[in-house]
Amino acid sequence: MSRDGAEAWSVKRYLLVVLLATLAALGTVAWARPSMFTSIVVVAGLGYHRESALPDSFYSVRVAPILEEQCAGCHGPRLQRARLRLDTLGDVKLGGKNGAVVKAGHPQESELFTRLLLPKSDKRAMPAGNKPPLSPDEIKVIELWIASGASGRTAVAAIAGAPPPPPAPIVIANFDAEAVARARAPLKDALESLSARYPGAIAYLSRDSADLSVDAQRLGAAFTDANLAELAPLAAAVTRLDLSNTAVTDGATATLAAFERLETLRLNETKVGDELLSATANLRNLQSLTVIGTRVTPDRVAQLRQKGLRVHDARD
């Protein structure tokens, strides 16, 4: 059925041409979409080397926290946009559907870096959507890491010029608010009346605690043994007591013994002596005692120190 009279191919020749053309086509696809073949290698378990990072490396200390905070939401265990994960060094090196995102030593050729520089109007800009862009310091850290070879073994100190790390975030632990409220309930009435009488002197140690701190120092010489005795309803809840610069004397020994959960006691610049400190025998939680400018004797201080109490006096 030939029109041009040319000789027909043999089936063998045809199959050879098709085979070569197929290999060429597969080669083109492999060149255009390297991730496809990487994925096949990984899925087949053919030994793709998954690089891991040392815990004290520049990557672990400086880069990984940024990627975790800014990128892992869409490129992490839950979502793998563009088939890319950025939550481990191995995954960062593996790349996504468009191939590698990091070219070691060449940040300007690494999408992990270049996409951070795109204007927000560019839909390829990262982070995508309404997420705020990375700070200049964070971008600099990623640039320096890639420029240094994008390794998981390079030490923090080995990469010069990195911006200082951001201050550690303040972590507020979760607490059982109801349990705290229940523990505070018995103190409520007494605390209200005594707080009104001694404004600013009594406060809870923290929002997750029913322990109290009493700062009588601010009341100065007006605060006497009798005033300390008025705190008796709260005594069992007080863990910090500062009686410095007050008029408290050894006469308050019995009263002080009732503060059996005290951990910190300050008696600076008061007239108390060794007698008051006999009350400490009852204060089993006491860890720190400050007696600068008092009549407490060095022998008594030494005795208390022998018992394991941290005692600060004028000789320190």
């Binding site: 059925m1 029109r3 027909a8 045809y14 255009a32 559907k97 839909k123």
Partner: protein, 242 residues
């Protein structure tokens, strides 16, 4: 409107002898469909790679319209365009393939039995691909017009299927090209030229076979109808499912 009732439908009969002049086998709608589909698939591939999603979207909807038109043309079009003409049962296909191996003289004015199933596979794959694309997203800023109807998770899943289906389409295109090469080079049966000029040599067409050609205005009407349906569906997408 069918060829039987359409007064301006034309009939072409293959001569009993084998004169050098060609016999028209493919109508203009089928040929335009074929080459427009080639252009659209190439453009869809490029725009997907380059991330030109607006162009990709327009090309995708155009492909959907084109394929749906071809499906309707498979019922209301010319003889060689009709599914009833080129979809044969498995026995016929196997017999055809065996005959091919044995070098038998098997003539078909339109698609041969094996090619017919390849056409159907193409149509189904591209139809599925274009439809799924309406629910997909580009994982960044672009969403198909129906993507809002479903959850983001499902849209992501359909996006992955969209990517996978394109690979399947590429494999089919490759098989198609290998088959064309086989016919052109081994069988010395040029299938490309007829898809360009619509005619085959009389020697390639079964003797005495009557081919009816549906009028172009019917094709225009079907194309317009399909276009209106798809455009209305997309334009009213949100309103329909709110």
């Amino acid at each position: 409107m069918t060829p039987e009732t359409d007064e301006i439908a034309q009939t072409e009969v293959a001569p009993a002898a084998a004169p050098p002049e060609g016999v028209r086998v493919w109508d203009l709608p089928v040929r335009l469909f074929h080459w427009l589909l080639v252009l659209l698939i190439v453009s869809l591939w490029i725009t997907a790679i380059r991330g030109w999603m607006t162009v990709h979207y327009i090309a995708g909807v155009s492909t959907l319209v084109l394929v749906l038109f071809r499906v309707t043309w498979g019922f209301f079009g010319s003889t060689t365009a009709r599914f009833s003409d080129f979809l044969a049962g498995p026995r016929h296909v196997l017999a055809y393939l065996r005959g091919l191996r044995g070098g038998e003289d098997q003539r078909h004015a339109g698609h041969n039995p094996a090619g017919g199933w390849m056409v159907l596979t193409f149509l189904l794959l591209i139809l599925a691909q274009a439809t799924i694309g309406l629910f997909a997203n580009d994982e960044f800023a672009f969403k198909g017009p129906f993507a809002e109807w479903i959850s983001g998770k499902r849209s992501d899943l359909l996006t992955r299927i969209h990517v996978f289906l394109f690979d399947a389409i590429l494999v089919c295109i490759w098989l198609h090209l290998c088959a064309i090469t086989f016919y052109v080079k081994v069988k010395r049966d040029d299938l490309v030229r007829p898809m360009l000029n619509g005619s085959r040599t009389a020697a390639q067409v079964p003797k005495g076979q009557r081919l009816e050609f549906a009028p172009a205005r019917r094709a225009l009407f079907l194309l317009l109808a399909v276009t209106i349906v798809i455009v209305l569906l997309i334009v009213n997408a949100r309103r329909m499912f709110e």
